[in-house]
């Protein structure tokens, strides 16, 4: 279930922090895998991954891989961007409902046209020089 890795020149405009716990996620992402945590007892997923299950507060969690497929719930194009993102503006961001029932927010890669809501998308890895991010691309 490897994700496509799209090379992006330069550094991430606002790099995420990596903790001892979340490094597992970011390392997997760099390798082309979208993973998160699941409560062992109730089988419930969460995103972002957490060292406990937020539904039951059990600390018995396991890493699981996600399909990287979902549907576009909503989207917008940001024209007025913060200084950190000014060079990229305008850019498209959106909300994706993954097939596993998780709602996430991410960058949207498009060919310029507005993608269709509820249409299928896939997650790809954006491989910046300083580390990975992810994005959704309409299929």
């Amino acid at each position: 279930m490897s994700l496509e890795i799209v090379k992006v020149d330069g550094a991430r405009p606002y790099p995420p922090r990596v903790s001892e716990f979340t490094q597992t996620f970011w390392q997997a992402l760099a390798d082309g895998r979208l993973i998160t945590t699941r409560g062992v007892e109730d089988g419930r997923l969460t995103f972002p991954p957490k060292p406990f299950c937020p539904h039951s507060w059990s600390d018995r969690v396991e890493w699981v891989e996600l399909s990287g497929r979902g549907r576009l719930y909503s989207q917008t194009v940001v024209h007025a961007a913060p200084a950190a993102f000014a060079a990229e503006a305008p850019y498209r961001v959106g909300i994706v409902d993954l097939d596993e029932g998780l709602r996430i927010a991410t960058r949207i890669l498009d060919d310029g046209a507005a993608p269709v809501l509820d249409g299928p998308v896939e997650i790809v890895v954006l491989a910046y020089d300083d580390g990975p991010l992810f994005a959704a691309r309409p299929l």
Binding site: V78, P90, L102
Partner: protein, 397 residues
């Protein structure tokens, strides 16, 4: 509530650009602006300063140089307090929480008189730099912010989804901006008072699609002070006052999006808080004569009005276009001009909402007076309305 709470008076500066730049020879200092308002509001309330027991401040912006502002102000005004002196913070809910906390201090008997007050200064900070900070407020800085989400980008996605689900068009949302400007034209403390047309709104440059410049909030400074007291104090004073009839709060345990999915435009927290506030008030959505909502974008005003039951779910855009939400309409919303035209100094915006409630319920709103206004509702929020705080108030003439 253990005892009834009254609002006696409110004072606010005109919303606009008040903040000085770092290099300006003469500086507009926050304590002078707010100090004047406190003295004005307490004076209008007919209260002696020694009667004040609680000072609940909205936390000032990071640009405010004088830190520990609340206790500094207690000194500046030589104002003793035996209930509490505190700053509260909760995003767009900040001013609402200040009001709510002052109310709770009175309701519980801690204080007979409490002030909810604050100042928000930010306009001297360039917008792109300011956004470098605000993008860290409305999202997970590790799992949202790196993609470039801005505070209003979440509302824009509400709009995109709402249009998809209901068939509303851009013009149906934009109508809110025209209406609000019409209200602001009648409000002497509004930031933008020149009437605008639907064509002008639609012609503005895009900010976060589908929202253009006139559909998102301006940058604003502002300050306000509200005087609350036990109803028995109000009765003794023998003047008209406002009675708080109910209070509702709900946080859905989500921030911007709910990882479990669901209808993002339903504003579940506002629905839940509304059920509580209407029950406490012993009145329903249909009983409200007007509403002053925390709504930083056109779409938000529609969605909150729907969540509070003021207009039918999924039909708010029709109600807006049909003029139901304007002065003279069935349920006037944001008679102050709202965030879009009255202006939006975020941490005190809900206090400006309270100012409008007081003006309307005391019959002092002049040309924007809602005729026969007896009951009104006000709101404030966290995140993308992931939490809502509501108050219903009534005129007690």
């Amino acid at each position: 509530m253990s005892r009834n709470v009254a609002v006696l008076a409110a004072a606010a500066t005109p919303v606009g650009r008040l903040q000085s730049r770092a290099g300006d020879e003469l500086q507009n200092v926050e304590h002078e602006i707010l100090g004047r308002l406190v003295i004005q509001a307490v004076g209008e309330a007919g209260i002696d300063k020694t009667e004040v027991g609680s000072l609940v401040f909205s936390h000032p912006r990071v640009y405010t140089q004088q830190l520990y502002f609340a206790t500094f102000m207690a000194n500046y005004l030589k104002l003793t307090a035996d209930a509490q002196v505190v700053e509260v913070m909760g995003n767009g809910m900040t001013g609402g929480l200040a009001f709510d906390q002052a109310m709770a201090d009175v309701a519980s008997g801690r204080a007979d008189v409490a002030l909810a007050l604050g100042i928000n200064m930010e306009t001297a900070a360039p917008t792109v730099e300011h956004m470098n900070r605000t993008m860290r407020t409305t999202g997970d800085i590790d799992f949202h912010t790196p993609f470039g989400f801005t505070p209003i980008s979440w509302y824009a996605m509400d709009a995109t989804r709402y249009m998809h689900d209901t068939g509303a068009g851009r013009a149906d949302l934009a109508a809110i901006a025209v209406k609000d400007r019409g209200h602001a034209a009648l409000n002497p403390i509004a930031q933008y008072r020149q009437p605008i047309t639907l064509e002008e709104v639609l012609a503005q440059r895009p900010i976060v699609e589908p929202l253009g410049l006139y559909e998102v909030p301006p940058r604003s400074d502002g300050a306000a002070c509200i005087v609350l007291a036990a109803e028995e104090v109000a009765v003794k004073l023998g003047r008209p006052y406002v009675r708080i009839r109910g209070r509702g709060f709900f946080h859905e345990g989500a921030h911007q999006i709910n990882e479990s999915g669901g209808d993002m435009t339903a504003f579940v927290a506002a629905q839940r808080a509304a059920a509580t506030v209407y029950e406490q008030a012993g009145a329903g959505a249909g009983d409200m004569d007007f509403a002053e909502l925390y709504a930083p974008c056109t779409i938000v005003q529609i969605l909150v009005a729907e969540a509070l039951g003021l207009v039918p779910r999924g039909e708010g855009w029709r109600a807006a276009s049909a003029g139901e939400m304007q002065l003279g309409g069935r349920i006037p919303v944001c008679t102050s001009g709202g965030c879009l035209s009255r202006g939006h100094p975020p941490y005190v915006t809900p206090l400006y909402g309270m100012v409008e409630m007081v003006e309307q319920l005391l019959g002092r709103a002049g040309r924007r007076q809602v005729e026969g206004a007896r009951l009104g509702i006000t709101s404030s929020e966290l995140g993308n309305y992931n939490a809502a705080l509501l108050h219903v108030m009534e005129a007690a003439a």
